[in-house]
Structures are given as structure tokens and as C-alpha cells.
């Protein structure tokens, strides 16, 4: 009996290993339609230069990992020595952030970067106390309001990445319609969002507009979870959307909850913050993310050449701040790669604008107002962080509580 059990165990483990072998295949992806640009070094880094990074969590969080990976890439590309950078992780969004920044100043940092929204007030305080050091903050909005010359905000026009991902989603819907799997009015997508902030709204609206640009009959339902990272809630939200007959899901939250639910239900998923193809080989289509390396290279260059750092810096496709993963041809519609490559060119040349008011309405009316210039809603122009928060037609919010 014991021998039999041992044999059984061995067989199970062997099968398990074989299964793992099949799953771990990022090679299944095509080349990226909008890949990572190499950082080129076109300036001299001074010997006494030093940069400090402040991260909210550590590499276990996908959000922070994205920053840490970018920092590593820049450090390598610019050839910074061990004495030229300091990375502080697990810095809370409180007075600790001020102390971390002040400690980095003590250690000779010329530029200090912090990555979390709640760090902003404490970075600003440090900027006021140490006027000779440059302070850069991702996702914040106070730089253009405060008039503090050594304090800067940064973001990326990730809405363009979402728009491109939306095109891949729309093409998948078209494929389903063409094959008779759904009718044109059944082309309904689901979206799992974290909070009702502009950052999330701008993201899902651009995703929807991308899909709509190829599949005019598409509609979308959004379910908010009230947390940036809650695997159970995100999974529940995705399952609820699938139960409501959403035939494709995307998300803006940091856990594997939604993509996991899609793989289990066999529903195609457009991901965020990196490829989830290893866990979801059958349903992952494509993913967009912000690449922070170009911004890091930019602030390091400014600090070394004496150039002024922009008060609000919003990196786009040209800067290499918005990137897409490769496409999983198992799940994506045919010729997605080709279509996305063409769309990238259209966005680059300015032929296509994501928030073109010709393409969407709010309560049946075309949008006008301060941010609309020549019929285009100009996202991320007055500040780097997103502020598009209109409730456009075709998108239904299932809950509002967050």
C-alpha cells in the first residue's frame, strides 16, 4: 500500500511538473507592438551625484516592483555606482516619508523620488526644508499649485496604453460577433476598478473608447472594489461581471483576482501592470503598463546637466513611458499585432486622439468646457496626473460607493 501511495505521489508530482512546464511560457507572446525603449546615456554622470528612491512597499507589490525594476534598469544603463543611489523600501505615507527624504539628503542625494500618492505632502515639506535638492513625486498633483521650484510631479499618458489595449479588446469582440458567438448588441465588456478616482475613470474610459473605435456597438459595466489590492474582492467583482454576461474583462487593480477569475471562466482578459499570461495562458490578451525608467533617466540627466526639471512631466508613447506587452495569440483576435502597430503610429503622429469629443457623449451631448481644445479633451496637460472623470455614455457604473 505504502509503495502504491509513493508511486501515485511520484506520478502526480511528475504530472504537476509537466503542467508547470507548459504554463510558464511567456514565449507564447508575440513581439510587443509598443515595447520598452533602451535608455541611452548621452551625458556625463558627475562623480558626486547621488539619487534616492522612496517606495511605499517592496518588490512583493506589483506597483512597487514596477518602480524598482525601472530604477534597476536606469542604474544599469547609466552606469551608476553603488555610492550613487539609495533605495528605501517600505516607507509609510506619513511623517516617516519626510524623515526618509531628509535622511537621503543627509547622505548627499541630489535628487529624491517618491512613488506613492500619500507621500506627496511629506515630500513637499522636505522640498521646502531642503531647497538645494530636487524632489520628484509620481502620481501627485500639487506641484503646479504650490510654486515650489524644487518640487515636481510626474505621471504617464497611460490612457494611450489603455486605448491601445481597448483596440485589442474591441477586435476580440468583433471576432466573437463574426463567429456568431454573440450578437452585436451583446458586445458588453466588464471592468474591475479600484476607486472612483480620476486615475481609474480616465483609464477605463480610454479603454472603452479604444474598443469602441473598432467595435461601435460595445458597452461596458464597471464594478469598483474600494481597494488597490484585494484579491478576493477583485475576483468577486470579475465573477459578478461575467455572471452579468460581460464577454470580456479588464481591470485596474493590482492583484491576480480578476485575471484568475477570467481564466477559470474562460473569459478573455486585458490585463494591467504586466503580463499575466503565465497564470492565464488561455485568456490573457495583452497588458499595458507605465515604464518609469525614462522619467528616472530624465531627472538624472537634468540634475547632472543643470537643466530644470519640469514641474509636471507626463511621459507618453514617444518618451517610452507607456508600454505594452506582447500579444497572446491564443486568446487575441487575428491580426491584433498589426492593428496595434498601426494604432501606435496614429497616436504618435497625432492623427488619432484618445479623448476626441467626436467619439463620445455625456448624457447624449458633446462635451465642451475648459479642458476641451479644438474638440479634444486635453488629458494630462494642466497637471501630469489624470483628471478626465466624465461619465461617458455606454459605460454603466454598477456601484458608486468608493
Amino acid at each position: 500500500m505504502k509503495k502504491f501511495l509513493a508511486l501515485l505521489l511520484a506520478v502526480v508530482m511528475a504530472l504537476g511538473l509537466a503542467a508547470c512546464g507548459n504554463n510558464s511560457s511567456t514565449d507564447a507572446l508575440t513581439e510587443s507592438p509598443l515595447g520598452v525603449k533602451e535608455i541611452t546615456k548621452d551625458f556625463e554622470v558627475k562623480a558626486d551625484f547621488k539619487i534616492g528612491f522612496i517606495c511605499l512597499h517592496d518588490e512583493k507589490s506589483t506597483y512597487d516592483k514596477n518602480f524598482l525594476d525601472a530604477a534597476d534598469e536606469v542604474i544599469k544603463a547609466l552606469g551608476l555606482t553603488k555610492d550613487q543611489y539609495i533605495i528605501k523600501i517600505n516607507v509609510p505615507e506619513g511623517n516617516e516619508c519626510y524623515e526618509a527624504a531628509a535622511d537621503l539628503v543627509d547622505q548627499g542625494c541630489k535628487v529624491i523620488f517618491a512613488n506613492s500618492f500619500g507621500h506627496e505632502d511629506f515630500m513637499l515639506k522636505a522640498a521646502k526644508d531642503f531647497p538645494n535638492v530636487e524632489f520628484c513625486h509620481a502620481t501627485g498633483y500639487k506641484a503646479h499649485l504650490e510654486n515650489q521650484p524644487n518640487y515636481h510631479n510626474a505621471f504617464a499618458s497611460i490612457y494611450e496604453g489603455r486605448y491601445l489595449a481597448g483596440i485589442a479588446a474591441g477586435m476580440k469582440l468583433n471576432e466573437m460577433i463574426a463567429s456568431g458567438k454573440i450578437t452585436a448588441d451583446q458586445a458588453k465588456m466588464g471592468y474591475v476598478g479600484a476607486f472612483t478616482y480620476a486615475e481609474v475613470i480616465s483609464g477605463y474610459s480610454s479603454f472603452y473608447l479604444g474598443a469602441k473605435s473598432v467595435c461601435p456597438s460595445v458597452t461596458m459595466e464597471v464594478q469598483f472594489t474600494g481597494s488597490w489590492y484585494d484579491a478576493v474582492e477583485e475576483q468577486n467583482a470579475a465573477e459578478a461581471l461575467i455572471a452579468r454576461k460581460c464577454v470580456l474583462i479588464s481591470q485596474h487593480a493590482d492583484s491576480m483576482g480578476a485575471p484568475g477569475a477570467c481564466e477559470a471562466a474562460g473569459v478573455p482578459n486585458v490585463s494591467y501592470n504586466g503580463a499575466t499570461v503565465e497564470a492565464c495562458p488561455e485568456t490573457f490578451i495583452v497588458s499595458s503598463r507605465i515604464n518609469w525608467a525614462p522619467y528616472f533617466a530624465y531627472i538624472i540627466k537634468c540634475a547632472n546637466t543643470g537643466a530644470k526639471i519640469d514641474t509636471d512631466w507626463c511621459g507618453g508613447i514617444a518618451e517610452g513611458s507607456v508600454v505594452l506587452t506582447g500579444i497572446n495569440e491564443k486568446a487575441a483576435a487575428k491580426d491584433t499585432l498589426k492593428a496595434l502597430k498601426a494604432a501606435v503610429e496614429d497616436l504618435k503622429s497625432g492623427k488619432v486622439k484618445v479623448f476626441d469629443t467626436k467619439n463620445f457623449t455625456v448624457e447624449g451631448k458633446t462635451v465642451t468646457g475648459d479642458n476641451v481644445i479644438n474638440g479634444i479633451f486635453e488629458e494630462s496637460k494642466t497637471q501630469s496626473a489624470p483628471y478626465f472623470d466624465l461619465k461617458i455614455d455606454g459605460i454603466t457604473r454598477l456601484n458608486e460607493k468608493f
Binding site: 517592496d58 539609495i86 528605501k88 517600505n90 509609510p92 505615507e93 506619513g94 511623517n95 524623515e99 505632502d121
Partner: protein
């Protein structure tokens, strides 16, 4: 031993454990045991660092010390860290001494911080600074007392489980803060801009000096209260045995409620210092787990406020030190946590050798033959 029957002797285990008579444990024995424990902890975690992180353990320990004492700013941060942790630990100690398991300090401090920040926000510009400081103090202390009073009343009159009750009150406090930020931060970002203009005064040009001095005074006050006052005596008796307390005429209900009110009031001071004296704003993570770490500080010091200065320092040293390790060596913060865990395990574990002694049976050898 000598009178034991032969059959019993046969079953005597090789080792057995005997409780020490605490009167016979000399101070130098205690010192040696603790020193050996710390050395052993350093050795074991050193081996682990070498294997897991492939770093030189001596450099790693050097970086820990550097992270705590490396600059005057770091020393001030350490003092501030010790003061804040010690303040919360002082708060839980009277209740623990009474064997009232208050694990709700986190919520009691947070709700006081919320009361304090609300006062700063809504009353800040309506009154002179001196009066504002008085109102902030009163409101914070009252909020902490209310959060502690509820479970105390339920415990005293209906004998509810105080551990669960105080724990649940933490979540209520956290959610109230979340709601407050959602409802009253006008720009909808959920992050409240700090209001240093309404904060506690800065004395001697040092941001944390006032916090440190206040907690130092509080430490002595709690020590004297527990050690020399009638109330302190009553707390010890209730802690040892409620029946004895009743027998000698102590009103147990009164002592429970009164002690928890004191606990809550000190939590209120901690909330005031954290919000009014440090952050000048609030978030759901402002207390940052100090309410739970304080339990360890208090236990390790055997509820003696003076020893708690040392145990708070130990925990802050490990926290700041491990942060510095992960910065200097780019090793995963999990490894820094493992080192902290090992050091704590050895320090707590060595208490065993102070409480008990291991006796090797003398008779066993001849029995085995």
C-alpha cells in the same frame, strides 16, 4: 529522590524541568543568560544572512547600528520612535497587570488621533493657539477614554470577552478614519493635507523633543502609580486573583473600569502626540501597528515601565536596523524580518531559563544498566 521506589526510578526521564525559586536567581545569572541569548541570536541570524543573502554578517550588523545611530537625525528618529512606542506600551500596561487583555490600543490611539485632527481641522482657526492646545488635549484624551470605557463596562457588568471586544473596536476606529477622510477631504483624494500650523509647539528647535520629554515624564508617573499608589496595589491584587480582591474588600468592577479609563487616557496622549505632535494629519495607518507591538514591549519588560524603556528601544533598534539592512544590501525585507524574528525569539526564549531549570536525572545512569 532517594526515597523513590525502584520502579519509579526506571521511568525517570533523562531531563526534567523544575521551576526556579525566584528569590535564588542572582542578578549576574540573569545577565549571563540574557547575554548568551543575544550572542546566540546574533550568531544564528549571522549564519542565515550568510546563507540566504550571501552578505557578510559583520557588515550587516554594522549597517543596523549605522541605521540607528549613524547621524544626529537618525538618533532623533530613534528617540521619537522609542517615545511613541513606549507611550502606547505605558497605556496597555495597567490593564495587562490587571490581566485585562486590552488588545485595542491601536484603535484607542487612532480614535484619539481622529478626535485631535478633527479639532485641528474644524476649530483650528476659531481660537487662540494656547486654548486650541488645551482643547486638542482634552478631546484626544476623552476619545481614548471612551474607546476603552466601552469594553471595560461590558467586561465589568456582563463579563464579556475583553480581548474580542477591544480587537473589534480597532476595526471600528479604522473605518471611522476611512469614512472621515472620504467625507471631509474636499478634493476627494482621501489624503488630508498636514496642518503643522495647529500642531503642538516645537521646543528647542527639535521637532521631537517635546514628545520625548512628555513620554519620559509619563513613564515615571506610570511607574510611581503602579508601584507606590493604592490604586497600583489594587490593580496587582485584581490581576493575581479576583476572589482575593473581593475578599479583602476591593470593588473589582470599579478597579476594572478605572484602570481601563487610565489606559484609554494614555492612549489619548499617544494619539495627541502622533497626530498633533508628529504627523499633523491622519490616515488609517497612522498608528502603524504600535498598539500590537506595545503588547510585546510590555510583556518583555514584565510590566515594569522602567524596563519598558529598554524593550521599546530593542524593538525600535530592530525595526530601524532592519530597514537599513534592506536599504544597504538590497536584500528582500523578508530577510530583515527573519533576523528580527530570530533575535526576538532568543530574547523571549531565554526567559524560560530564568523561570525554570533543566535537571539531568542523576539516578538514571545506574538504572539503565
Amino acid at each position: 529522590m532517594e526515597n523513590m521506589a525502584k520502579s519509579e526510578k526506571k521511568n525517570t526521564p533523562l531531563l526534567h524541568i523544575v521551576k526556579r525559586d525566584q528569590g535564588t536567581v542572582t542578578w549576574y545569572y540573569k545577565l549571563i543568560v540574557r547575554a548568551v541569548a543575544i550572542l546566540a541570536a546574533i550568531l544564528v541570524s549571522g549564519i542565515l544572512i550568510t546563507i540566504l543573502a550571501k552578505a557578510n554578517p559583520i557588515e550587516v550588523y554594522g549597517s543596523m547600528v549605522d541605521g540607528v545611530f549613524g547621524s544626529s537625525r537618525r538618533i532623533w528618529n530613534m528617540l521619537q520612535g522609542v517615545a511613541m512606542l513606549l507611550c502606547v506600551s505605558l497605556a496597555v500596561t495597567p490593564a495587562f497587570k490587571m490581566k485585562f487583555w486590552n488588545i485595542g490600543a491601536e484603535g484607542q490611539v487612532l480614535i484619539s488621533g481622529l478626535a485631535c485632527v478633527a479639532t485641528m481641522m474644524f476649530l483650528g482657526d476659531t481660537m487662540p493657539t494656547a486654548l486650541l492646545l488645551v482643547v486638542m488635549t482634552v478631546v484626544s484624551v476623552l476619545a481614548g477614554m471612551i474607546w476603552a470605557l466601552l469594553p471595560a463596562l461590558f467586561k465589568a457588568y456582563w463579563n464579556t470577552n475583553e480581548t474580542l471586544f477591544t480587537l473589534m473596536m480597532n476595526y471600528v476606529a479604522t473605518q471611522l478614519v476611512a469614512w472621515f477622510l472620504k467625507a471631509f477631504v474636499k478634493n476627494g483624494s482621501g489624503v488630508l493635507t498636514p496642518m503643522p500650523e495647529y500642531g503642538l509647539p516645537v521646543i528647542g528647535g527639535k521637532a521631537y523633543l517635546l514628545n520625548v520629554l512628555l513620554v519620559a515624564v509619563l513613564t515615571i508617573a506610570v511607574y510611581v502609580y503602579l508601584r507606590y499608589s493604592k490604586h497600583g496595589y489594587e490593580i496587582s491584587v485584581v490581576g493575581e486573583s479576583e476572589n482575593t480582591a473581593r475578599y479583602i474588600g476591593i470593588n473589582v468592577k470599579k478597579v476594572v473600569v478605572r484602570t481601563m479609563l487610565i489606559s484609554g487616557a494614555i492612549c489619548g496622549i499617544a494619539g495627541l502626540l502622533l497626530v498633533g505632535g508628529t504627523n499633523h494629519t491622519i490616515s488609517t495607518t497612522t498608528v502603524g501597528g504600535r498598539g500590537f507591538t506595545a503588547i510585546m514591549v510590555s510583556w518583555l519588560a514584565k510590566f515594569n515601565p522602567l524596563y519598558m524603556v529598554l524593550t521599546s528601544f530593542l524593538l525600535i533598534f530592530l525595526e530601524m536596523g532592519s530597514q537599513q539592512i534592506s536599504t544597504d544590501f538590497r536584500i528582500s525585507s523578508s530577510i530583515a524580518d527573519i533576523v528580527t524574528g530570530i533575535i526576538l525569539l532568543f530574547i523571549i526564549g531565554c526567559e524560560f531559563f530564568l523561570q525554570y531549570r533543566v535537571v539531568v536525572s542523576k539516578n538514571r545512569k545506574e538504572n539503565v544498566k
